[in-house]
Subunit: 353 residues, 4 copies
C-alpha cells in the first residue's frame, strides 16, 4: 500500500452533524448546517462553497452562468437579476424561452398559478399556454411578438451577435428592476443565446424574414443573427480571462456552450485551460448518456473542466435549489457587490475589460 | 358548458410572485415565498400547509408519520425527534435501519462524512460500511448488536408487538435528547416497524433464536416479535381517532403500512374513512407502477385516503425537504407544543388516550 | 505509472457496434446486439450475462431473487413462474402485495387495463382499486381476503415462517400454470415475505387475531407468522450453499433482505462470503441515499456482496427489462431446465438439498 | 351523472394479459405482447402504434423526427439511417453533436466501449473524450474538424440554412450505408440543426470566422449559417403538408423546434393546426417544469399538438426503446418503404414535393 491509501482513521474523521432547525434559521445558517449532513443537502452546500470561491476571484476571472428550464415561470427572475446586478455573474448563456419570457414580464405581463392536471384543450380554447403548473396569456405573448418585430424593424437590417441583439432588448427593460435582460444591459454583462432561432424571438424574426423575401428585399436588408459570431465573442472573453468558473443552472445548450467556450478559446487562441470551478444543478442523470446529465468529471476528459478543478453537482429542482444557494451567497456577502468584469466591444472584438 | 368549467379570468387569477432572497431570509419566510412560485418549491409549501392543517387538529386527531430512507445518515435525527417531542407526530411507522441507527447513535456512535466514489473493497477491509456519502463503523455496529442481544436476554421470552419492543429500546435512549426512539418513548408515541426482521435487529433476534434452538429451549422461551399484533394495535389507534393525517417521509413499507392501517381499522371495526390529509416527500415516481411512487390520488381509489382529502407530493430529496418543512413549522409555531395524543396500552389493547 | 494504468490502446480497444434491427430480430439476438452498444442497453446485456453465469452453477449454488413493485399488475407473473419452474431461481424474497395478487389471479380474478389519469373518486365509488394504469376489482379482493381467512382457520393456531405459510397458499395455486406461488410450491422453491404483515394477507391475519382476542382464546391458538424464523431459515440456506447469486428485481425489503441473508448466515454460522454475482433492475438512484437505489458497490463495503463479485445495475423499468432478460435466457437455453436446489425442512431446520 | 361517465363494466373491460417469452420471441411479437401489459411496456407499444398510424399516411403527410442525446455513441446510427432510407421520416431536427459524430463515423472513425467510472484525468492526458460509458478519439475529432473546415473553405462565403450545409456534409457520407447524414442526403430528407453553433461544427466555423477577420475579409466572404432561414424553411414544410406527426427521440432543442415549427407555419401562413400524432421517448419529467420533460398535453394548450391528437410518452432510455420501436416497425412492414415526402428547394423556397 502506498501513502495514497487513506487509513481507517482518515476515513472515520468527520462526523455527520445533526441539523437543528428548531430555532429560527436563516438560509445562510441552513446551508452552513447542510455542509455537515449528507446526500443532496451536502451537495447544495458544496455548490455554495464552490460559488463563493469563484466570487472571491476579482478582476480578470470570469463567471459564466448557464440558464435553462422554465426559470421565469418558476419566479426565479429577480434572483438571477440580483446576482447579475451584484456582479456575481460575468457572462450569461441562456435559452430563447428565458429571455423571451423575461422580456414579456418586463412589459408588465405575468405568469399565473396553474394546475398541472389542467384541461389543456380548454386552455387552448382560451388562448392560455401552460408551463407545468403555471399559465401564460397567449394574447400578451402575441402582443410581445409584434412589439419585438417592431424593434427589429426600427433597427433595420444588419448582422448581429445574439449578445448585441439581447442587449438591445435589455435596453427596453431597464425600468423593470427585476429583469434579467435589463440588469445585464445596465451592468454590461453579455447574454448569449445560441439556439435563439428556436424561440418566440426566432419566430418573430422568421416573420420579418418572410416579409423581406415577399417584398423582394436583398438579404442584406434582413436582420440577421450570427451565432458563429457569438462563438468568436465568447472565445475572446474566455481567452482574456485569468480563469473561468462555470455555474450551470440546468443543462441543455447553455451547459454545452459554456463548456465549448473553452474549446473555442483553445482553437482560436491556443493554450486554453478548462474551467477552474464548476457546479451544476440538475435533475438529469449521467446514466442516459446525454450531455445535460453528464458528470462534470466527464467534461474533464474533454478538457472543458480543468483536471484540478473543484466541481460538484446537486440533484435538487432549481425552484428550490437556486433560492437556497443565491440566498446564502447574498446573506453572507451582505449584498456587497463584486467588482466583476465589464466588457467593451468594438464590433465583435473585445476591446478592454 | 356548466358552471364547473372555469372562465379565462378564473384561470388567470393569481400571478406567480418573484422570490426575493436578497435580504436575510428565514426558512419560514422562504417557504412562504415558495407558496407563490412554481414547480417543486410550490409543492414544498403545499406540504407545509397540509402539515399545518393537521397540526391545528387537537385531541383525537392522529398524525401518522412514515420514515424511510437513510434519515439518520442524513443528519435528520434531531429534526424528527424535535417533531415528536413537540407533539407534531402521534404515531411513527419506520424501517429497521432507521431505528437501529438511531439506537446506535444514542450509544454515542457516529456516522462519518464519506465519499460516494470510495473504494468499497478498501472500506470492507477496514470494516467500514458505506451509506452513499457517509460511513459507519462496523465494529460499533457489532457491539450494538451484542448490546441489543443482551437487552433481549434480560427480557427473556415472550411475544411483543414491535411497538413494545421499540419502546424498550427507546427507554435506553432517553438520555440522548436527539434520539427518535428516546423522544417517542418519553412522549408515549408508538413506533411500528413492520419489516423489523429485515434489519440488524432482526439479525440479532435470529442469533438468539438459533441459540434457543441449539439449547433445545421451547419456542415459548424465545423472544418473539408479533407483527400481526402491530396490525391489531394500529387498527385500534386509527379507529379511536376522530380523523387521521398521513405524513410520508419517503415511501416503502412505512407508506404502505400507514395506508393499510385505514383498511385494517375498516376490516376490524368497520366504517373507517381514509386519511383526511396526506403529503409525501419522495424522489420516486408513479410511472414505474410501484407503491412508493404512486400518487396519493391512486390511494384515494383504494379508500386509503379520503375522497375529499387535501393531499400533495413533493419531489425534493429528504435531506433538503425535511429541514425546510420542519423548520418552517417550528418557526411559525415558535416551538409551541401541540397536545397530541398519548396512548395507554393494556396488553395489546388501547385503553385510553 | 504502474502496470495497472491502462495504455491509450487498451482503452480504445473495443469499438461500439451499431445495432441492426432491420431484419426480424429475436429477443436473444437483440440482447446480444445490446452487448456491443452503450448506456442502459449495454447494462441490460450485462445483467443477462451475469444471470447466465449464475445459471451455469449447478448443485449447491443458490440463486436468490427479490421481487418488488407491481409485477402482477404488469403482467409479469408468467415470466417469473416460468423462471421458477425452469430451476432458474432457488429462493424468492418478495412483498406481500405480489404474493397476494398472484393468489388473487390464481383464483381466476384479473387485473384490468386502466388509465393513470382516472377519476380516482369515481373508481372508489365503484370499488375499483387503481395500480397506476391498471384496475383491480375490490369485491374480488375482499372475497379473496375471506378465502385466505378460511384457509388459516382450517390450519388453526401455530407458529409459521412465511415460507411455510406461503407454501400452503401455493398448494392452492398449483392448478394455475402461471402462478408464482404455485410454481414455487411444486418446485420446492422457498418464498419469503419479511413484511407480510404489511399486506392484505396481514390484514386478513389481523382480523383473525382480533376474533381470537374477542373470543378470549389464548395466544397459542392464534395463527402466528414468525419472521425471525424466516431469518433463521434463510441463514441456513445461504450457509449450506457453495455460493450465492442475487437477482434484485426492484429494491425495497426484498433487496435488503437478500443482502442481510449473508450477514445472518455469517452471524449464525460464521465465515460467510457475500454474493458472488449480483444484478439489479431499478429506476431508483444512489443519490437519494436509500437502500433501494444504492449501488451494489456500496453493498460490497458491507460484505454483503463479495469484493470479487461481478455485478451491475440497469435502469430500465421492469415491465420492459424483465421480458428482455428472461426471454433471452429462455431462448438461449432453449427451455432446458437447470437442476437447481431443492430444500427439505424438518420444522425450521434445513435437512438436505 | 351524464353519459360521459364510464360504468364499472366499462372500466373492468380489458384484462391485462400475462406476457409469455418462453418460446423464441421476435421484437415485433414482444411489442405486440406489451400492448396488453402495463406501465412503460404498454407505453412503448403505444408509441409504436402511434408511429404506425403516421406511417400509414402517405403523400403530403410529414413525419418530423427530433434526435437528441448521445445516439451515435449509443450505436443507434444505423437504425436512424434505416428509418430515413425507408421513408419513415420526412424531416430531421437534431443537435450539432449528433450530426458531427455521424460525420466522424462516416470517415471511418469509431466510438469505443468505455467505463463510466474511468479516471477522467488519465483520459484527458491520452486525448480520449468520454461520453458516459464510451470513448472517442480526440485526435480523430481534430482531424475531422480540420476536414470540415476545408469543406467550408471550398464552399467559400455565403449564407446557408443548416439544411443546406448539412446536405453538403451528407454528400460526403453517401458511401457509408449507415450514415444519418448520408441517408438524408440520398433520400432528400432535410436535416435541421437550430443550435449548430453549439457544437464542434460551430467551433470549426468560428475558427474560419476569426481567420477571415484577421485577414480583413468582408463579412460577405464568411460562410454564414442562417438559422432564421431554417425557420422560414421548416414553416413552409409544415404549411405545405396535409398533416404532421412528431417523433421526439429525447427532448431539448429538437423537441421544442418541432413544436415551434407549427407556430412558425401559423405565423407565416396562418391557420396551421398542431401535430396530429406525437410521441416522445425521454427519461426527463414534467415535474421540473422544463420543456424536455413537459407532457404532450401541455403542448396542446399551446396549440402545438392538435386537441384531437393521439399522443403518448414512454420513459425508457433510448438505447433500449428505439431498437424495440424501430425493430417492430421494420418487422411488421417487412422493410417495405413508405413513399414519404421529397422536398425540392429553390434558394430557401420549397418548390414542390
Amino acid at each position: 500500500m502506498t501513502d495514497d491509501v487513506p487509513t481507517r482513521d482518515d476515513l472515520l474523521m468527520t462526523p455527520i452533524r445533526m441539523l437543528d432547525v428548531s430555532d429560527k434559521v436563516t438560509i445562510g445558517q441552513l446551508m452552513e448546517g447542510f455542509a455537515n449532513t449528507s446526500f443532496q443537502a451536502r451537495r447544495l452546500s458544496q455548490c455554495l462553497s464552490i460559488y463563493e470561491r469563484m466570487l472571491d476571484h476579482e478582476g480578470e476571472f470570469s463567471i459564466l452562468m448557464g440558464l435553462s428550464g422554465a426559470m421565469v415561470a418558476a419566479g426565479l427572475r429577480k434572483i438571477v437579476s440580483d446576482l447579475i446586478r451584484s456582479g456575481y455573474v460575468d457572462v450569461v448563456v441562456t435559452t430563447g424561452a428565458i429571455v423571451y419570457q423575461d422580456f414579456y414580464q418586463a412589459r408588465g405581463y405575468r405568469h399565473y398559478r396553474g394546475d398541472p392536471n389542467s384541461d389543456d384543450v380548454l386552455l387552448h380554447s382560451y388562448m392560455i399556454d401552460r408551463i407545468y403548473d403555471t399559465y401564460v396569456d397567449e394574447d400578451k405573448f402575441r402582443e410581445t411578438d409584434v412589439f419585438i418585430g417592431r424593434i427589429m424593424e426600427e433597427i433595420g437590417g444588419g448582422r448581429y451577435s445574439t449578445r448585441e441583439f439581447l442587449s438591445i432588448l435589455g435596453s427596453r427593460c431597464i425600468n423593470d428592476p427585476d429583469s434579467i435582460l435589463g440588469a445585464a444591459h445596465s451592468r454590461g454583462v453579455p447574454v448569449y443565446c445560441p439556439a435563439i432561432a428556436d424561440s418566440s424571438i426566432g419566430i418573430g424574426l422568421a416573420t420579418a424574414y418572410k416579409r423581406a423575401r415577399d417584398e423582394g428585399k436583398p438579404s442584406s436588408d434582413v436582420f440577421l443573427l450570427d451565432t458563429i459570431r457569438d462563438n468568436y465573442e465568447i472565445a475572446q472573453i474566455v481567452h482574456m480571462s485569468s480563469g473561468t468558473g462555470a455555474v450551470y443552472l440546468g443543462g441543455g445548450v447553455p451547459k454545452n456552450y459554456i463548456n465549448d467556450a473553452v474549446v473555442m478559446a483553445d482553437m482560436l487562441y491556443g493554450e486554453q485551460d478548462g474551467h477552474e470551478y464548476a457546479f451544476q444543478i440538475t435533475m438529469d442523470r449521467a446514466e442516459w448518456g446525454g450531455l445535460s446529465g453528464s458528470t462534470l468529471g466527464e467534461a474533464q476528459s474533454w478538457g472543458k473542466i480543468l483536471a484540478e478543478a473543484t466541481h460538484t453537482m446537486a440533484h435538487v429542482e432549481l425552484s428550490v435549489a437556486l433560492p437556497l444557494i443565491a440566498g446564502a451567497v447574498m446573506e453572507r456577502r451582505e449584498g456587497k457587490p463584486r467588482k466583476g468584469r465589464r466588457y467593451t466591444w468594438d464590433g465583435d472584438s473585445l476591446l478592454s475589460i
